[in-house]
């Protein structure tokens, strides 16, 4: 499986994503600068966490206008896999590759902690290795992870089985609508999520629950 990690100004989980990809796929990902207009030949594009453009104006807003985003849209349209983690999720919503928006956490504070999630949909390359309803623990680290969409959109997301991950009952760290932690696009080849699977791929660092996400991708895309 070939992958690319996009580097925006002030991305800061780009190295973490690359390390996890290398460890779990055996291949070093391409690091792609946001101003490039073309993607290398890859199966997976990762938009990493961080504070692209300092999170100024709105998280992900300026990054969503980067030159590389057009190529990423084309890649997604062709059915290529796109994974947006944290800031990457914000960029995907701002770029309208995923519906809704991520607003300021309900308590207005940044939050970094391990959070229990439930895998709500296993019908995707990202989640196929998990069991339906399985509980996993990923850390969150964000100030703007409060997922918002209108009721119609939320109903559709749920109806179409596109809510991939939910915060376990009582664990919602940010006030997200319907405890949504991660969603899929209609074609199920684009996943955006606030928690960080790339930070739980090593038992030394607080868990290995993120490994299956990358394994699922590896099996599907290789």
């Amino acid at each position: 499986m070939k992958s690319a990690v996009i580097v925006f100004p002030a991305s800061n989980c780009d190295r973490d994503a690359a390390t996890a990809l290398k460890q779990l796929t055996g291949q070093t990902p391409h690091m792609v600068w946001h101003r490039d207009s073309e993607l290398p030949q890859v199966d997976l594009v990762v938009l990493p966490g961080g504070f692209s453009y300092g999170d100024y104006l709105r998280c992900g807003a300026m990054a969503s206008q980067s030159a590389i985003m057009r190529a990423i849209k084309a890649h997604a349209d062709r059915g290529g896999a796109v994974l947006g983690i944290c800031n990457g999720f914000q960029v995907l919503t701002e770029a309208h590759l995923l519906p809704g928006a991520l607003m300021r956490n309900a308590n207005l504070q940044f939050v970094c902690r391990p959070v229990a999630l439930e895998v709500n949909e296993t019908q995707s390359a990202f989640t196929r290795k998990y069991e339906h309803g399985q509980r996993v623990v990923f850390p969150v680290a964000h100030g703007d992870g409060n997922y918002f969409a209108d009721d119609e959109t939320l109903n559709r997301l749920e109806g179409e089985g596109r809510v991939a991950l939910r915060y376990a009952p009582g664990q919602n760290p940010n006030g997200s609508a319907r405890d949504i932690a991660g969603i899929l696009n209609q074609k199920r080849n684009v996943l955006g999520l606030m928690p960080h699977p790339e930070r739980v791929v090593d038992p030394l660092l607080g868990g290995t629950d993120g490994i299956k996400l990358f394994q699922g991708l590896l099996e599907t895309l290789s």
């Binding site: 928006a101 300021r104 207005l108 918002f148």
Partner: protein, 80 residues
């Protein structure tokens, strides 16, 4: 030309910042404070001198970047 753009949350979108301010104002003893909403104001200097063209450009800026129309609405004010 100087322009002022207001970007505020659409009605119906929850505004945690506004709510926090309202609570804080109550806490400070300000009675009679109802709903509070917080938005952004962006002041922009433009070289453009034609009002209609300026307005059109600003609208495009809002749609493309300044506002996220999924949750926000915007208003444009021109100051000659």
């Amino acid at each position: 030309m100087k322009a002022r753009v207001f970007v505020t949350l659409k009605n119906g979108v929850l505004d945690p910042q506004g709510k926090a301010i309202a609570n804080a104002l109550h806490g400070l003893g300000f009675a009679g404070v109802g709903d509070v909403r917080q938005g952004k104001v962006i002041d922009i200097e433009l070289a453009e001198r034609d009002e209609a063209r300026a307005r059109a450009t600003l609208k495009e800026m809002c749609e493309k970047l300044l506002a996220n129309t999924v949750i926000e609405k915007y208003e444009i004010e021109l100051q000659a």
